[in-house]
Symmetry: D2
Subunit: 296 residues, 4 copies
């Protein structure tokens, strides 16, 4: 697959917009579609083409990418993509959705000779802008190879993790670990602050040893400062934890920490902090510990 390979890109939001622009920059012929026209205009300004509909961007594409908020959004367009796509089309869904939905799309598409990969990402808006996403890919090896040039324009870590749905499963596991890690750090921060310890100094020690993690590296500063501008929103992480628990349940895997942190994330959301950064779990630990006079 080489330029001028034609890529249809559906979903030009916070993540999809810069991803599509990176494909243009890498030499692909990109036709984009989005429900709101402003996002399409931005793609055109970046050198892409405007599509009028899902069918419009799919019918002549070699590769179609979707980058949509949730499982129902993907289910709503997948049928159209399968109907409108020519045999041999490679359809890469990069949204974070339920693995079983990903498998169902792949099965339905296979009947029509359309190849499907599930390829959710981590790395956030900045990773999308920088073309530095981590991409976890589920599907057949030859399709992953074929997708290589496209994915290389979007991310720096591209790992084939298993058959259809496997990418989504890894993403689900990723989101469980991330949420749990934030909560562990939040509990540590409140514990240190409540006992008169220099919390910043304490977290530096933790970061340097076996307790070290990426949340301490990247988020300790904003957590200590109680800055919760997203970043990755509680609402989205809440959705992702729902997927993770459903995957575990379906697989008969018991995840006690995952289940508890999902409840805590649900509480953050229920209390009205859904649009804050997911590190707002810290606010909940403070609240539970009676240490947030002004915040409840």
């Amino acid at each position: 697959m080489e330029p001028k390979t034609t890529v249809g890109f559906i979903g030009l939001g916070i993540m999809g917009g810069p991803m599509a622009a990176n494909l243009v920059r890498a030499g692909f012929d990109v036709a984009g579609y989005n429900r709101s026209g402003a996002a399409v205009d931005r793609l055109v300004a970046a050198g892409g083409r405007a599509g009028d509909s899902v069918v419009d961007v799919v019918k002549d594409a070699d590769v179609v990418i979707t980058m949509l908020p949730d499982t129902p959004d993907v289910e709503a367009v997948a049928g159209t993509i399968i109907d409108a796509g020519h045999p041999g089309l490679l359809y890469i869904d990069m949204s974070t959705i339920q693995p079983q939905a990903a498998r169902a799309v792949a099965a339905a598409a296979g009947d029509k000779g359309i190849r499907v990969l599930d390829a959710p990402v981590s790395g956030g808006e900045q990773g999308a802008i920088d073309g530095a996403l981590s991409i976890m890919v589920g599907g057949d090896a030859e399709d992953v190879e074929r997708a290589g040039p496209v994915l290389a324009a979007l991310g720096t870590t591209i790992v084939h993790v298993g058959p259809a749905g496997a990418g989504q499963t890894v993403k689900a596991a990723n989101q469980l670990v991330v949420a749990g890690t934030i909560e562990l750090v939040a509990e540590a921060i409140v514990l240190l602050e409540a006992t008169g310890v220099d919390a910043a100094a304490g977290l530096r020690v933790l970061a340097g040893g076996l307790a070290g993690n990426r949340i301490l590296d990247r988020k300790a500063h904003t957590m200590l400062a109680r800055e919760f501008a997203p970043g990755f929103r509680v609402d989205l992480h809440h959705k992702d934890l729902g997927i993770g628990l459903a995957v575990a349940r379906d697989a008969g895997v018991v995840v006690p920490l995952g289940a508890v942190v999902a409840q805590l994330m649900a509480a953050v959301r229920a209390r009205g902090d859904g649009s804050l950064d997911h590190t707002a779990l810290l606010r909940l630990v403070e609240l539970l510990s009676g240490r947030s006079g002004d915040r409840s």
Copy 2:
């Protein structure tokens, strides 16, 4: 404080033995005491001196260090150290004990003009051998400064985190985060394996993103291989989690994940795996998920 500063070292076990040897190597005059004589012989072979009793190694020391298994062990010798030590003695307890016990020792010693630091470590046996421990220090700033040369011979990261007891509090928080992180990784591993994902590949993606942590970096390989030779034993981590929960309770801090992982670590121990590495939490997740054919 410079060589030939005399250091009395009490507790020459897996950690204390190599730590005392590193002090000899750094030029200190080290007199060691241990309940079992073999450990003292090893210190002498490394260039240290043998002490016959706690009093014997304390009475002429400029600095005394204890490195003992648990709170009662420290409480059993602290009185003797305070009685036998001359005014101006600097007593550094590097064991992992309850913060309130550390504060009590400091208060009792202060009445006699003996200075005390609590300075627990992380980094394990290898860190002790390499002189590469992380050391979290509680106490007065001038005493931390005075301890500098001694601690520099033992560790690479030395952080003053607050007043008496603060070192122990940071260690308690550290152990809660470490246990929680192991459990999160264990849940992810079983989830990936149960769903037909290439777990090693999946963990690589996690390690590269916001889910990344030191357990993934250092322990994923042995966890995937089900190798549970310690390392850091479940029994000790169980003890440390007991301290962590007590600290949280005393401080009125609510730690839901900490409380759940403490139950899980207790289960690993209750099932007879207390002498395995703490990553044996993975065995419990497998057991709960019905995925351990041979099962204990």
Copy 3:
């Protein structure tokens, strides 16, 4: 509504079979349908009529009752019932299903002039046989009143708890409380036994005070004897807890104990005890506590 009111009864299993027989006994004209014919034969022997299909038992019925295992089973027949039923038909679903599915059925039926109640039950097989079920009913008050004679033949406690779906929501809450209570009793039993207490005597004290509950009244004896013949199966309770957590999640309600007990019930099932009585949670607490030599 009076005899000879005609009742179509779909689902003549462990619960539905004796319920249909009770309706015959109360004077109703009962036409039954079940996938396996043997159950229909038993109804005929009890004085009912055999139906050949869902349509067959619905088309002339004044009232239709379904008593089926799970949400998809109800969804699979509801459309047929709505299509085949005459306007004015009263359709009472007594299965335990998702509240939102119950609401969807009610809405679809309403468009055709068919009245729907969700009326799940508690009380188990014995309650079904004795006509002594507790019935929690969601729907419109006039429909509940109209259903009165039918429900009175099946249960002794019949409570209208709210609009469509409310019966299922109460059932979901009921199942969360039951599972949690079993687990609390299981933890108490293992705690008493492990500490050398006379557990039977201890449970008698608990049963007599504020800790008293129906599990202690009815199940303590079999739990102490480790008799786990169902009763109510783990597999079904696991299903119900899935509904309960989904209801809570949809409503933004945080249920920490519910979430943990759902994980524990999932573990019992994952370990192969799905066909045991739900009190087999006790086996899991023993396993976690290293007190089940032969069982792990």
Copy 4:
């Protein structure tokens, strides 16, 4: 043992006051001691005698009873009782304390020929007033028999549950089950209210089936009305849960629900609701679910 058996009663608070009065009423010669004199005056008004000190009420007593808030309170007087009591004295501690402290008191007293029972109670202030407490007794059978007439004046359910400490262990288990049950009911209430169900009607159904429990019977009304006047205070229940978790930890028993509800009770207390009734767990579930605009 018959009247005029002399009973020394130490601790004439909310529970101890009416208990001592019941002993007077039953014909015992009761000498009472309390730190605050007003309580002693009330006992005298009820027909008892005033003691000036612990020694004063112990030295001539056939039976001594303590009813004190916590373990350290009992430890503070037990030595004096053992020193001042004559051989053959029966010392019944009815406080709720740590089982191991109870065992230590029994061992120390045994060396002096003083017999000890641990006999904590449930039933609350009203049970104390009515002489209708449940009493769980640990100790030797002959001592329990000897205590019979005294205990019969205080409670209606008196059960010998095992050797020294067993009474306290059963009480600890009791308090874990009570707290868990309150939390389960609280989660159910918020779930019902949040989904538009008639919660009072829903709870009636729960109370009538396998979900039925004493909290639903006695506390549902005040919980629905958000009346949290104690009753049994959060602070005390928090203390008791600390004992329960310590007992489980010492015994190697894993109590996941117990551990989580202890965190929740700690949160209620940390938020300033320690003096409310323990059913204030409901406030926390509301808070976590974003349903308490005015309360945080």
